[in-house]
């Protein structure tokens, strides 16, 4: 794996999260009815940062849940490795809520598709809005994000890696090249 470029640094990530939080609040007229759902694993930490930011701005802390979509994936038949499942942790009722679904990278759109299925099994929200840090293109499903941190055009052989100090040693977004046999 070769690092090609650092797209967002620590300060940039902080600014982007601040803007996303403001956009979410603006669009929903406050934080009253919104709940945040982060997708494992990086989306979870991103969601926690956005939650903190919303509290700073609005004074109110929206509920936060964590979604694991492994069981809803569409690629069980084609994968070479068995995906590891982990637990969905959403301890509040999502009925009639405005859900902000949060993930790090939007690529084919298949993960979001499975996330929508998973959410529908948990209840009937008023709206589901999708917030993503990086949109890298190459969609295979008719899906678009409501809040985008940064649009980064990529080639198929590239990948976008988010690093967060909660689990990595820094805050940054990298563009990396993936060789075919490592895919």
């Amino acid at each position: 794996m070769n690092i090609k470029a650092k797209i967002i640094d620590k300060v940039g990530l902080e600014r982007t999260i601040t803007r996303l939080a403001h956009e979410i609040l603006e669009h929903n007229g406050g934080s009253e009815n919104i709940v945040l759902i982060g997708m494992r694993t990086r989306g979870e930490f991103l969601a926690k940062r956005i939650q903190k930011k919303i509290k700073e701005i609005d004074g109110n802390e929206p509920d936060l849940g964590i979604l694991d979509v492994t069981l809803y994936r569409d690629d069980f038949r084609t994968r070479l490795k068995q995906p590891e499942v982990s637990v969905t942790d959403i301890s509040f009722d999502i009925t009639e809520k405005d859900i902000i679904l949060i993930d790090d990278v939007l690529y084919t759109g298949r993960t979001v598709r499975s996330a929508l299925d998973a959410i529908m099994d948990l209840g009937r929200p008023s709206t589901v809005q999708f917030c993503v840090l990086v949109d890298r293109g190459h969609r295979e499903m008719p899906i678009a994000a409501d809040y985008v941190g940064k649009n980064i055009p990529t080639s198929i052989n590239e990948e976008v890696k988010l690093k967060m100090s909660e689990i990595d040693d820094e805050d940054a977004v990298y563009l990396v090249e993936v060789l075919n046999d490592q895919k």
């Binding site: 069981l71 809803y72 994968r79 068995q82 590891e84 499942v85 637990v87 299925d117 948990l122």
Partner: protein, 308 residues
């Protein structure tokens, strides 16, 4: 991570890592069972055959529910009312059903070794739901899950299996599985119900129930299987209860912290008094709920395993 085998025939020789993977995966499905819609699409398009040559309520319903909650298609075979009654051989029956394209077979049979034999005549992934007096791995896995859920971990625990050990496939699977997870195992029962040389499995033998209660963290109490001639091994059910039956009085006197488990169905007033079966010491109905989650985990791990 994936399981190292394509089948679950027993827990003998299964590694700690594989057991841990099944138990961890079961935690995911335990959460699914708490949802308003208790179903995930993971095994869509897979067909599972439940091949039951022997009576069963819990295990069969539990497997069927687990399969349905993973969105698999299920077909059920039971010996009564089938062509087995017309004299068709086991092998022919299986070959015929398999021609209808099944991906997995859950099998229960009165003869030990049938699940292993199935792996030789079928391409499906085989799960043992109890074979003769041999093994009943998913029961032991759900016992382990329930112990872990209640006590936090299995390693270092002292666990005693009480009752008719010689007729029990649950006992053997529990011994293999719990030992792999680092627990120390004893058995307790009348000498006629303890197999000779069971000590060679690294198991301690107790003949006194009061001492067994006092010395252990968990008692896994087995049913006295009257349908399997257990009656010839004990003078009477009442005498068994007097010497080995677990009562609230015995628990309070010897070890009020002991955890009581039972794979069901319970003979009330024989191996457990009703007071214990319904009381605060036991997690019997938890075991049943966890059984669905554990079976979902096994079906998921075997059913989505990438082909080599």
């Amino acid at each position: 991570m994936a399981l190292s085998s394509n089948h679950l025939l027993g827990l003998q020789g299964v590694s700690k890592e594989d057991i841990q993977l099944i138990l961890d995966t079961a935690t995911t499905f335990r959460e699914v069972l708490e949802r308003p819609i208790k179903k995930v699409p993971t095994l869509q398009g897979k067909t599972i055959l439940n091949l039951f040559y022997e009576n069963s309520t819990r295990t069969r319903l539990s497997f069927e529910l687990a399969e349905k909650r993973l969105s698999a298609d299920t077909i059920n075979f039971s010996k009564a009312g089938s062509s087995a009654a017309k004299g068709e051989s086991f092998k022919d029956t299986v070959r015929n059903i398999e021609s209808m394209k099944v991906d997995m077979i859950v099998v229960r049979h009165e003869s030990a070794g049938v699940p292993k034999y199935l792996t030789q005549i079928s391409n499906a992934s085989i799960i043992n739901a109890g074979d003769g007096r041999h093994e009943h791995p998913t029961q032991a896995l759900l016992d382990m899950y329930s112990i872990r859920e209640r006590l936090g971990q299995i390693e270092g625990l002292k666990i005693c299996i009480v009752g008719d050990i010689s007729h029990s496939r649950v006992a053997l699977s529990n011994i293999y599985g719990l030992q792999a997870m680092g627990a120390s195992i004893s058995v307790c029962g009348p000498s006629t119900m303890i197999p000779w040389e069971i000590e060679t499995l690294g198991v301690k033998v107790y003949n006194n129930i009061d001492k067994a209660i006092a010395d252990h963290d968990v008692l896994n109490v087995l049913r006295i299987q009257l349908e399997r001639d257990a009656g010839v091994l004990i003078p009477s059910v009442r005498e068994y209860h007097n010497y080995f039956g677990i009562t609230a009085e015995r628990i309070n006197k010897n070890n009020p912290n002991v955890l009581i488990m039972h794979p069901g169905p319970i003979n009330r007033g024989v191996e457990l008094s009703s007071e214990v079966a319904d009381g605060p010491f036991q997690i019997i109905l938890n075991q049943v709920t966890n059984g669905v989650a554990v079976r979902m985990a096994v079906l998921y791990l075997l059913g989505t395993k990438p082909e080599e």
